[in-house]
């Protein structure tokens, strides 16, 4: 035992900071979420300079540093580029394990789209095709897509 602990009790002060946040999604992101909610459609934006199709959509291209105006509807299906199967539970995770986080390259896009796979976890592999499954009750959130499923 450390010498000082014989005379001094190591006290702590209990604290908790709960700061509520409401992040404005912005006009570009809101249009994307509304489309998920109202039309079950996934929208992206296309850089006029390098042609990259981003999903979720971007208001400007970071690399070219130009505004992006062009909207494109992208497919609700694509290819698993990379994934991991989660076995541990943690409060911030959107669903209970086991489930997979996957980077999915939707057809017609140039960047990975981060989402969940809940079924057939023993069968999923990079390179396999998956399709979005929309929730019946949608609120304007990225989780209006419930998950992706193997085709």
């Amino acid at each position: 035992m450390a010498e000082w602990l014989k005379d001094v009790e190591p006290l702590t002060l209990k604290g908790r900071i709960a700061v509520p946040y409401s992040w404005w999604v912005g006009d570009t992101g809101s249009r994307f979420l509304m489309s998920l909610r109202d039309d079950r459609k996934i929208l992206g934006t296309k850089c006029p300079s390098c042609g990259t199709v981003f999903v979720p959509p971007r208001k400007n291209c970071g690399r070219c540093f130009v505004d992006i105006e062009e909207w494109v509807e992208v497919a609700a299906e694509g290819v698993i580029e990379a994934h991991t199967i989660v076995h541990y539970a943690y409060p911030v995770q959107p669903v209970k394990p086991p489930f997979a986080y996957a980077l999915i390259k939707l057809d017609g896009t140039d960047v990975g789209f981060l989402h969940l796979i809940k079924k057939d976890l023993d069968k999923i592999k990079n390179g396999l095709r998956v399709k979005a499954k929309f929730k019946e009750e949608r609120t304007g959130s990225i989780l209006d897509i419930d998950s992706f499923e193997l085709i």
């Binding site: 700061v19 946040y21 409401s22 912005g26 970071g62």
Partner: protein, 386 residues
């Protein structure tokens, strides 16, 4: 001695209570695009970026990374600097160090905040010591109110005296198209506003704004090619006292960090009579009383002379040393950008681009940042290459 450095372009957003149309990243880009346009440069001309905001305000801890699409920092040297209320000025000073070091010729400095996305007080209390000060004396208003009562006691200043500062700055904001609050506020309005913590009333304190500001800094030899009239750094000083509220301010001595930073800045700039040699000041005055007390600490007048100095019109537009032609913090307060707006507005005055808020014939302009547990930054910009 570092290289000489100048501000050669500034940009800011139209500041508002909330910006539902953009994310922080998208809002940052508005300021960056404006600053680059002002300097007639593109993002490719920028060698490095310094960015800052308030920790916890948007719950984005790594804004240097988060912001790259908006800042233009993709694959460039970029780092975050966050020092509380002083952040914007410290970011500008860090960018100045970047260029002065000789390592970078053109550096972008960015400050931003979206106050509308969180609870400002809930986030701001994290500046104070978790064990001793946080739960007893936290948030901006109580500590400032204590400073004000000490000043009233010592010099007999009245609430009406302080309200003149609010009236002055809010009136100045009418000349600034970018200001958040652009309605006049009179001494009577301020006196009639609800008491928050004696003697601070709602009309005495700054608002919460969404907004961003960016400055382009360039090295000697480069700056002259970019701007017709660069705003040269003559001085930059940063001073922190203690983090314990009880230690950081001897209320009878004044705001010690501001006194020391000013003294250092005047020495760097070779200024011996501030009120005579400074032509305009953009001061981080988060509440009206600061406009009386802190001008004493900055040395525009002697201790206890603030009320007389202000009542004589010295700090109003057309006076000896106009303070806050932009409308100041009382009119616009996107906190991580607030202190940079002081530096940017000082640069605008030096460059002669102030439009309706321009003070004639500005040679030297002084800007301050203030933050957290009573610490201070001071910047002096000049038409004169040091």
């Amino acid at each position: 001695m570092g290289r000489r450095v100048a501000i050669v372009g500034v940009g800011q957003t139209y500041h508002k209570s909330h910006r539902p149309d953009v994310t922080s990243r998208e809002m940052i880009r508005e300021a960056v695009t404006a600053a680059l346009a002002d300097a007639e440069l593109t993002i490719r001309d920028i060698d490095a970026i310094v960015i800052g905001n308030m920790d916890h305000f948007e719950s984005i801890n790594y804004v240097d990374t988060y912001s790259v699409e908006g800042s233009g920092g993709v694959m460039k040297p970029i780092m975050k600097v966050s020092t509380g209320g002083t952040t914007g000025a410290t970011v500008a000073i860090a960018a100045y160090y970047h260029v002065a070091s000789g390592l970078f010729d053109r550096v972008l400095a960015i400050g931003f905040e979206k106050n509308s996305e969180s609870d400002t007080t809930g986030a701001i209390i994290t500046c104070s010591d978790a064990i001793w000060d946080r739960f007893s004396y936290s948030g901006a208003i109580p500590s400032l109110a204590t400073e004000a009562t000490a000043y009233m006691e010592k010099y007999g200043a009245t609430q009406e005296d302080a309200a003149i500062i609010g009236e002055r700055d809010r009136n100045n904001a009418l000349n600034n198209p970018f200001a958040h609050l652009r309605r006049p506020l009179t001494v009577a309005d301020i006196m009639a506003s609800p008491m928050l913590a004696y003697p601070i009333k709602l009309g005495d304190i700054c608002p919460r704004s969404d907004g961003a500001c960016a400055c382009v800094l360039a090295a000697d030899g480069v700056a002259q090619k970019i701007a017709r009239k660069p705003a040269w750094f003559k001085a930059a000083a940063v001073r922190h006292t203690y983090t314990w509220f009880g230690d950081s301010t001897d209320y009878n001595k004044g705001l010690v960090s501001m006194q020391r930073a000013s003294k250092d800045a005047y020495q760097q700039a070779g200024i011996t009579k501030p009120a005579e040699e400074i032509d305009v000041a953009e001061l981080y005055l988060p509440y009206t009383w600061a406009g009386l007390k802190w001008i004493e600490d900055i040395g525009f007048c002697g201790p206890g002379e603030g009320v007389r100095f202000v009542r004589d019109g010295n700090t109003h537009m057309g006076g000896k040393i106009p303070v806050n032609p932009s409308g100041g913090v009382i009119s616009t307060n996107c906190i991580g950008a607030t202190a940079m707006l002081r530096v940017a507005e000082a640069a605008i005055q030096v460059m002669g681009r102030g439009g309706k808020r321009q003070v004639p014939d500005v040679k030297n302009a002084l800007a301050t940042g203030f933050g957290g547990c009573f610490w201070s930054d001071v910047v002096i910009l000049s038409t004169e290459r040091p």
